[in-house]
Amino acid sequence: MKTITRLKTATAIVGFALHFAAGTAFAQEQVELRMTIWSANEAHLAMFNEIADSFTATHPNVSVTFDSLPFESYTTTLTTQIAGGNAPDLAWILETTAADFVNSGALAPLSDAFANTEGYDLSDVTEQATALWRADDELYAYPFSTSPFAMFVNNDLVAKAGARTPAELIEAGEWTWQNAIETAAAVAGNGADGLIVRDFNYQIWQNLASIWRAWGASPWSDDGDSCTFAEPEMVEAMTFIHDAIFEKGAMPEPGESVDFFAGNAAMTITQISRASLLPTGEAAFDWDLVPLPSGPAGAYSVVGQAGIGAFAMGDNVDIAVGFLAHMSNAENSAKLARFFPPARASLLNTDTLGKTNPLLSPEQLESVVINGIANGKVLPGHEGFAEIQQVVRAELDALWQADADVEAVLTSVCDRIVPML
């Protein structure tokens, strides 16, 4: 009797053990990838999920979740997750922090993996677009969004103020910063607000590159080694911005929050993906999208970039890189183009972009998107950017006073950041 009981017990134990072992084996095959992103836009998420589903269709054991983090604290949250041993498998990376991520060794190399993926043509991606994301000729992140900065215009407000619309100025060949600010000032004098550099808020100063590049100004030299904040071009550009704010009243003063897309301002400089914020129905207004005005240094364009990288410390690096290859192939890049302009030569035409951007006319796509991506310079970035950003932000606070000495402030900015460059 005792023997039978023992046998029963042993069988039960083996049964349980097998069950758990099978469970473990099954769990090992199941892979859950997590990608951090800074968008919580439903349309964006629906598109990502569609791409993830198509990957799951060919890799049934893989599922992908998209983890939306707030934009303002995105990099901070991401690095804290990494510090806490909870790094995602893949992550969006901002152009300003590209240097930190690419040079740290935190990201998995992509070039070989992409080359070995059937039908993947990396040479289709423009070299200019991948420059930020390479180290020693190796690609560490894929630039999935190369989005030009452009100017959205509220023609209703401009017409109400009796000013010339940007479209009229472009036609007359007079689309310059001087005239753009006159239009903004006219609307601001008529009860609404003038020009808003979106997300600048007197904090994210690098977004002002969309204005100061018209003067040929930049915060540091191309090699990133010397400070050029106090160069004459920058002084002139910043003086222009300062006057626009405090003398002409053409831009909201510090501490004022105004939303263009709520119909409260004449113009805003932002990326085309923000077209999804344009109001419809009763709140809709007559809007236009135009290239940035020209300045003393001629015509120019500025692009914001975002890359996707796979973390080298993850458990499923190869699968994560495989998913990245899938997400960034020509077919899915065409889908992503609806919100995130691709840097692929084969997709940069009005036909392809027009299908996914029904809000924009072929002329707008040509002049703003295609031309912008082809000629645009990426927003300034640098290794250790987060600290440089804060230090410059603190120094520039002195500039945002009505009686500021522009040149003195910019000189002090250089004094502070030279040791960090």
Binding site: T75, T76, T79, T80, I82, A83, D100, F101, S104, G105, A106, Y202, Q203, E253, P254, G255, E256, S257, M313, G384, A386, E387, Q390, R393, A394, E395, D397, A398, W400
Partner: protein, 309 residues
């Protein structure tokens, strides 16, 4: 042969392990266990780890963790931003403690009356304490904007208000006031309880002696509630050194570095600039400041606190 070790039957007797004393000791430890486990897990171990991190260079992205001795402490002594940060921290703490305690005491004295509906007033002044800190601060950030509610009110009476959060003096004042209004109710309740604990006979006796009201306050009320003043001052100072959300929401440390207090600076260094080792070093500095201040206050109680049980 030891007689005591033998039972009446003469067999050797094994002495029971669980003596009364040991049982009491165990019970004592069990009673304090929940608190002890909490303190060890959430205070002592993290404190030890923070000190350990402060001796390292920890690059989160590159996943490197290198021992570098006291290099972070040397960097702390040579940090050009630190004097400004400590200055801002001192101004904030001092402003907060003085304004908070004075207002709390004033409100408590005013509310220590037997009036109809006094409970409603007490509730009103206490209610901000239970409001979510971030929600409270965000609402204030809208009110304090250049085109916000406060300046709109001032404009109604013909005053052009300053750009509260963008001027260095007004930004610090704004942060202090927002914080005081949020928490003054807590100190007010503590003061109110203390005031109500002062024996009424003392005031009656003083009145019989013809003592003026002001002197009754300074000679009876203040000494009688001095233990509460000490307690609230410690809570308020320690709390003021931990201010973070208000700075993050209202000013992000600006304009310039004028509202970059120590905790915010620590956050920037560790979480924004990815210098976790240096951030840990700043935490040690903050810990020492809090410890020294609390110790000094306890020492002062001998001179300033009366009637302590």
């Amino acid at each position: 042969m030891n007689v005591a070790a033998r039972s009446t039957t003469g067999k050797p007797h094994k002495r029971a392990f669980w003596t009364m004393e040991r049982r009491d000791t165990l019970a004592g430890y069990l009673f304090i266990a929940p608190q002890l486990i909490g303190v060890v897990t959430f205070v002592l171990i993290p404190l030890g780890l923070v000190f350990w991190y402060s001796l390292h260079e920890w690059n989160v992205l590159a996943q490197t963790f290198r021992f570098q001795g006291l290099a972070n402490y040397e960097a702390l002594l040579n940090d050009p931003g630190l004097p400004q940060v400590l200055g801002a921290t001192a101004v904030f703490s001092l402003g907060l403690v003085v304004f908070n305690m004075a207002l709390a005491l004033l409100l408590a004295v005013l509310l220590d009356q037997k009036l109809k509906g006094i409970a409603v007033y007490r509730t009103l002044f206490f209610s901000p304490v239970v409001v979510s800190l971030v929600a409270w601060t965000i609402v204030w950030s809208f009110l304090l904007q250049n085109n916000g509610g406060i300046n709109a009110l001032l404009a109604l009476v013909g005053i052009e208000g300053p750009n509260w959060l963008r001027g260095s003096a007004t930004a610090m004042t704004s942060v202090v006031v927002v914080q005081v209004f949020k928490n003054v109710g807590l100190n007010m309740i503590l003061f109110l309880a203390a005031l109500q604990g002062v024996p009424r006979e003392l005031y009656e006796a003083a009145r019989v002696d013809g003592t003026p009201a002001w002197m009754q306050f300074t000679r009876i009320t203040m000494p009688m509630i001095s233990p509460t003043i000490l307690l609230t001052s410690i809570i308020t100072i320690v709390g003021s050194l931990q201010v973070f959300a208000q700075i993050a929401v209202l000013t992000q440390g600006g304009p310039g570095m004028s509202t970059t207090v120590l905790v915010y600076y620590l956050y920037q260094q560790a979480f924004q600039f990815h210098k976790f080792g240096y951030g840990a070093t700043l935490s040690i500095l903050l810990f020492l400041i809090v410890a020294v201040l609390t110790f000094a206050q306890w020492q002062m109680r001998r001179r300033l606190v009366f009637y302590e049980n």
